[in-house]
């Protein structure tokens, strides 16, 4: 996030696109409610009717995967009416002409044809966003999990810069991160191409620095993304896999394909709290301690690094992740010896000059610090790009709309999108073991519009068979107007009804390699219970 969570309360207009905020980031939704009650305008763009839709000044349900067209349409209206921030564009950005040229073709009428959103709604969205500064834009996986994920994000940035909404309080471009510490994991170099603080692996100075600090010679070659690893396993190029805190059997696309690849591995190690679907097929499982059982830090979606303190000793024979990794490394011949995670934190801050260098456990205190925090006297940074962008000038990109990899056709006539529901977290490893959360939702379901249900003669809880070009799965029906006719929604939490049987592992963003979980084409039919009925 460029900005801070609490700042949303003081926004003039909040633009929500591709985030079901009350279900997935409820305490950020609290800020949205408060902003709205204090007088902010609210725009909600989501293919489904979500809880926040009820509170929106304008709510639209754009067709799956049509985000670039929708955003270009808004920018077209803004430029045409002169609502853009000319001074900001001149002083702080470059390549505006490239944007103007592309969006000039995206008339509201043309965009209405692509998105299914009326021209009037597009004009109203544009006016509300442009005229009610500061206007934060919030998004989540609804923007990123597309073959055009990077294009979608760039389009969000285009819109924000066009109206001078980057580099001021209570505005910005704000991807809501999906886990408490996914920002922290990325900051720590948990990506194939960077060390801590996004220092590039292929930069010789960076690699020299880390090699010297760790007394060994490090490779300057970027690693593989998850999406690249699966074909590498199939080709026999990747023989062993060590997975920490992830359940790809449920979270990666194309279940059949992935299982086939996992079977090709010589050795699979999983480090997990519970015996997840993936852990069940591992050769070795390291049982990890939970957040209540360890000391350390988390860095959340607003770049806030916070200390966590052990509430109880680890239960059973579990160990904190850092200790498992240290022991494994030592056993493999590179000694890692630390008495406390604070030592690791200090080693990291010394190697991460721009963002974490000014942080110490003592300074983190109760409220933590937001990076960049480059020195010991720096108070942390509530919002980014205040006096200038990290790269100098903010760069506009002219981006053309592209169709998703797969659109409904004669054989697979329904759109399928996947996502979350409020009671469970990701693949459910931590939440489905809770009796109270199990009461809320015990098993998977597919949302289907009443019109489609009527045509297919489907009643609530009937078992439906969904099939795509990848595979077939069964799931009970939930009839709801939250989805438009022709579109189905599957939550991702339930291993017994795995949506990733249907999704495509080859439909990925060319740059970020993120799979297009938000758009697939499927066929749906009612499960024939003939045999069961006869025997019953």
């Amino acid at each position: 996030m460029t900005n801070s969570i609490s700042g949303f309360e003081d926004a003039g207009c909040i633009f929500i696109i591709g985030t079901n905020t009350t279900a997935c980031h409820p305490l950020i939704a609290r800020r949205i409610y408060r902003a709205k009650e204090k007088g902010a305008k609210l725009i909600v763009a989501d293919p489904r009717a979500i809880q926040l839709t009820r509170f929106a000044d304008v709510a639209v349900h754009h067709r799956l995967g049509s985000d670039v067209a929708l955003l270009n349409g808004m920018m077209h209206v803004i430029i045409k009416n002169g609502w853009h921030d000319q001074k900001y564009i001149e002083e702080r950005t470059e390549d505006y002409e490239a944007l103007e040229k592309v969006v000039s073709a995206y008339t509201p009428e043309k965009v209405a044809g692509i998105t299914g959103v009326s021209a009037e709604d597009i004009e109203q969205m544009a006016e509300l966003y442009a005229k009610n500064s500061p206007a934060p834009l919030l998004y989540a996986m609804g923007i990123t999990q597309h073959t055009t994920g990077v294009d979608n994000v760039k389009s969000c940035c285009n819109l924000a810069m066009l109206c001078g909404n980057v580099g001021i309080a209570s505005a910005g471009v704000n991807p809501l991160r999906g886990q408490n510490n996914v920002q922290g994991a990325c900051d720590m170099g948990g990506l194939p191409n960077v060390m801590t603080g996004y220092q590039p692996v292929n930069d010789i100075k960076t690699i020299d620095k880390f090699s010297r600090a760790w007394g060994c010679s490090l490779s300057d070659k970027p690693g593989m993304t998850i999406t690249d690893m699966i074909p590498a396993m199939l080709e026999g190029k990747l023989k062993g896999l060590y997975i920490i805190g992830e359940n790809p059997k449920l979270s990666d696309p194309d279940w059949n394909h992935l299982n086939h690849a996992l079977k090709k591995l010589d050795f699979l190690v999983i480090q997990e709290l519970f015996l997840s679907e993936t852990a069940q097929v591992a050769d070795v499982v390291f049982s990890a301690a939970s957040s209540a059982e360890k000391d350390g830090t988390f860095t959340n979606t607003e770049r806030r690094c916070m200390k966590i303190n052990k509430a109880i000793e680890p239960i059973g024979n579990t160990l904190p992740d850092w200790e498992i990794i240290s022991r494994l490394s030592t056993a493999m011949g590179y000694e890692m010896k630390y008495d406390h995670p604070e030592e690791i934190f200090n080693e990291m801050t010394a190697l991460t000059p721009k963002s974490y260098a000014g942080m110490t456990y003592e300074r983190l205190g109760i409220d933590g610090l937001q990076w960049p925090c480059p020195d010991q006297n720096h108070p942390g940074t509530p919002y980014l790009h205040k006096d200038g962008f990290a790269r100098g000038k903010g760069k506009f990109h002219g981006i053309e709309y592209k169709d998703p990899a797969e659109l409904p056709d004669k054989d697979y006539p329904f759109f399928l999108t996947t996502g979350r529901m409020f009671a469970h977290f990701h693949t459910g490893t931590m939440t489905r073991v809770s009796a109270h959360l199990d009461v809320e939702q015990t098993t998977g379901y597919v949302e289907i519009n009443p019109k489609d249900a009527e045509v297919l003669d489907i009643c609530e809880n009937d078992i439906l068979v969904l099939s795509s070009r990848r595979g077939e799965m069964e799931v009970p029906a939930r009839i709801t107007r939250a989805v438009p006719p022709g579109t189905l929604f599957l939550p991702i939490h339930f291993g017994e009804n795995p949506p990733n049987v249907l999704t495509d592992s080859t439909a990925v963003d060319p740059l970020a390699k993120i799979p297009e979980f938000k758009v697939s084409a499927v066929q749906v039919r009612k499960l024939e219970l003939g045999l069961v009925e006869k025997t019953a």
């Binding site: 279900a23 409820p26 609290r30 709205k36 009650e37 204090k38 809880q51 109760i366 009461v439």
Partner: protein
């Protein structure tokens, strides 16, 4: 306060004392015992708002003979205890208390003060500073739509129930699928909030912890105050101070509330 607690623990007047301790800068509930008597010097009053008496009910359920000391750091702790005695969730013979009020332990502290100037809230909903009489000034349609606006913000976190000192049922009606449909946001409204409101009758002592806990700024105190008013009017029962059993814990012989049509 510390000296008294230390003496109680040493002399065996109490087996356990439930108070607050500052842990890593957070004031949180803590069990003080004779085994760790040194910790008593860390006992604090603080600004923390937890229902220590509810924690006591969990201890008492597992250890019916245990003598429990409780810190009363808010004005309403005593009333909450009273309700728990009346409902047989705690035995007054097993409880010892120490009163140590913080100056600003008024439950209405902060939160939602800006509501009174929040235009959309004013137009659509109900603000926390209102009393039941203010709501009744609206016509019935307005009243309904304003409550529904507030309820529709609910994210079903159960914070209101979990923090409530007098929510002690083993099986919670809010989790009963035949009463409240599960699996959706907002929860089924207004049923979710009305089921809880009904269950507050004869129990709610207006401590305000639920409203503080609510991330959606729903004026829950206002709702339960209305319930309390009905209990006073109809049963002449003052929840939290009346010494008798709650009128809702005895089976009645006749309906004393007049039934009114819903479209009145």
């Amino acid at each position: 306060m510390q000296a008294q607690v230390e003496q109680w623990l040493k002399e065996g007047n109490v087996d356990i004392f439930i108070g607050y301790k500052n842990v890593d800068g957070h004031v949180i509930p803590h069990f003080f015992t004779n085994e760790n008597i040194d910790e008593v010097k860390d006992l604090v009053v603080g600004q923390a708002h937890y229902s220590l008496e509810k924690i006591a009910t969990k201890v008492a359920a597992d250890h019916p003979d245990m003598k429990i000391g409780i810190l009363l750091a808010r004005n309403c702790n005593q009333q909450a205890l009273h309700v728990l005695y009346v409902w047989n969730q705690l035995n007054s013979n097993q409880i010892q208390t120490i009163e140590a009020y913080e100056a600003s332990s008024d439950p209405a502290f902060d939160l939602g003060q800006s509501e009174d100037t929040a235009p959309y809230k004013q137009k659509m909903g109900l603000v926390k500073s209102m009393v039941p009489k203010d709501v009744e000034a609206f016509d019935q349609q307005q009243r309904f739509s304003r409550w529904m606006y507030e309820f529709s913000k609910c994210i079903k976190c159960y914070g209101c129930r979990n923090i409530c000192p007098v929510c002690f049922c083993k099986e919670c009606s809010l989790e009963h699928k035949d009463l409240v449909r599960a699996g959706n946001l907002p929860p089924e409204i207004p049923v979710f909030h009305l089921v809880r409101a009904v269950h507050m009758a004869g129990r709610c002592i207006d401590c305000g912890l639920c409203e503080e806990a609510c991330p959606a700024d729903i004026p829950l105190r206002l709702l339960y105050r209305k319930v309390d008013e009905i209990v006073v009017d109809v049963f002449d029962y003052e929840t939290g101070t009346s010494p008798d059993q709650s009128p809702f814990s005895v089976l009645g012989e006749k309906v004393v509330l007049e039934l009114t049509p819903i479209d009145e």
